[in-house]
């Protein structure tokens, strides 16, 4: 069966998208306590001092979901998942750099 719908508008999880604690937990399908632990672990950096004022960025949805999957699929504990997230970010930065450098290199040929 095929169903078609015209032009669904999604929400872009970018820097502009802001979520409160309960909303982040709901969207990611985790408990508020799990979000608390991730903040305590330094995996998420909400703006605002107290949990009631916390505001998370859209990209943090991706981080929470990724952390949950890594913990579940690879049986990692929270610090382990935090480390994996940091390494994944670092690899992404390096890949970007490699692409940049490769573009500078150009082709070469043997000198006579």
């Amino acid at each position: 069966m095929t169903q078609s719908q015209a032009g669904i508008e999604g929400e872009l999880l970018d820097e502009q998208r802001a979520l409160k604690l309960a909303e982040l937990a709901h969207v990611c399908g985790v408990s508020v306590e799990q979000v608390h632990s991730m903040v305590a672990e330094g995996m998420l950096q909400p703006r605002g001092a107290a949990p009631e004022q916390w505001v998370f960025r859209g990209v943090e949805v991706i981080r929470v979901r990724r952390a949950v999957r890594l913990q579940r699929d690879l049986e990692l504990n929270l610090p382990g998942a935090a480390l994996a997230l940091e390494l994944i970010d670092e690899i992404e930065r390096l890949r970007c750099r490699v692409r940049r450098l490769e573009q500078h290199l150009g082709a070469w040929q043997d000198a006579d």
């Binding site: 069966m1 095929t2 169903q3 078609s4 719908q5 015209a6 032009g7 669904i8 508008e9 999604g10 929400e11 872009l12 999880l13 970018d14 502009q16 969207v27 399908g29 990209v59 949805v61 991706i62 979901r65 990724r66 949950v68 999957r69 890594l70 579940r72 699929d73 690879l74 994996a84 994944i88 992404e92 890949r95 970007c96 692409r99 940049r100 573009q103």
Partner: protein, 329 residues
């Protein structure tokens, strides 16, 4: 359907110990985990590895699989012998821990033909994303989320676009049986998306049991390589070839941007690799990105006599110029 060689998938011998299997599985799970691996077929491999592990880690399932015999090869056309599969001997395998019905539905037909439809526990009792319980009836649970990649051109990222996607969504009938069906969605990609960003489409991933919400669909944006521009966040980078006299004397040249051609003033005395910024000419956004133009001096070919003479005149005029002065030669 195709026979699956679970031993081959995990890279272990048929007489491997349970410890060997566990070790091989854990190693491959780390290697092909879709959040870790950048291999294009990581997701598919991860599923295969999980399916193989699902069978081989459980001595009872492993024995049943082994009983098919050793004459099979991966990819052989397979028909289950009588007595196998759903309802064959009336036995139902308990669904494995941490496996949602949607995940079970992603296992191959080969798997179902031997072990039955794992999602087929009656009366609900299945949770999305790992939570599950044996409660019968009246139990609502949320469907699993799904992530898909969507590859777009830089032009689409600049202007916004609509993309048609086909995805397999699990569907659970009144008896709790899981099947998948193809669903076509037209999704609006907003202008100004950047590589790696995700778009959340709430409730578009299907699933959901007993009136539970459907899962969310996440689309991860990926840019197709562009012949001219390289994107870094909202900024774009472009190499701009210029002639030696344009570099030396300065010039106003035409530069392509995603928004159309613009004029760029090359300052007199410009050098290769010098970068000029076209502010706000990158991908749109609350703070639009910039386009960085990197100059590259390109010589015209000097093949005929008059072209050679022109360069010779230049050499004569700049006799004392040593481009390698800094190299000490």
């Amino acid at each position: 359907m195709e026979y699956k060689d679970y031993y081959k998938i995990l890279g272990v011998a048929r007489d491997a110990t349970q410890d060997d299997i566990k070790r091989a599985y854990r190693k491959l799970a780390r290697k092909y985990h879709p959040d870790v691996s950048k291999e294009p077929d990581a997701e598919q491999r991860f599923k295969e590895v999980n399916e193989a592990n699902e069978v081989l880690k459980d001595p009872e399932k492993r024995a049943q699989y082994d009983a098919l015999g050793t004459g099979w090869h991966a990819g052989d056309e397979f028909r289950p012998p009588p007595g196998y599969g759903a309802g064959g001997d009336g036995r139902r395998w308990q669904r494995a821990e941490r496996m949602s019905p949607e995940e079970a539905a992603q296992f191959s037909d080969f798997f179902s033909s031997i072990f039955g439809d794992l999602g087929g526990m009656r009366g609900g009792g299945m949770g999305g994303d790992g939570g599950f319980g044996g409660r019968a009836g009246g139990f609502a649970s949320r469907g699993s989320d799904q992530t898909a990649r969507v590859r777009i051109s830089l032009e689409d990222a600049y202007h916004g676009a609509t993309r048609q996607l086909s995805l397999e969504v699990p569907e659970i009938d009144a008896k709790g049986r899981v099947s998948s069906r193809t669903r076509t969605l037209n999704v609006r990609i907003p202008a100004g998306v950047t590589e790696g960003q995700q778009i959340r489409l709430a409730g578009q991933a299907g699933g959901g049991v007993g009136g539970g919400e459907a899962g969310d669909l996440y689309l991860e944006v990926e840019f197709a390589p562009h012949p001219l521009f390289r994107a870094e966040g909202r900024d774009l980078h472009l190499r701009l070839p210029i002639a030696p006299w344009e570099a030396a004397l300065g010039a106003t040249v035409s530069v392509p941007t995603l928004g159309g051609k613009v004029s760029l003033k090359v300052p007199a005395g410009a050098q290769s690799n010098q970068r000029l910024r076209l502010k706000g000419r990158g991908l749109p956004g609350k703070t639009p990105g910039d386009t960085y133009v990197q100059l590259e001096i390109v010589n015209p070919p000097a093949t005929d006599a008059s072209a050679k003479a022109a360069f010779e005149a230049l050499a004569e005029r700049f006799k004392s110029f040593n481009p390698r002065a800094k190299l000490g030669v």
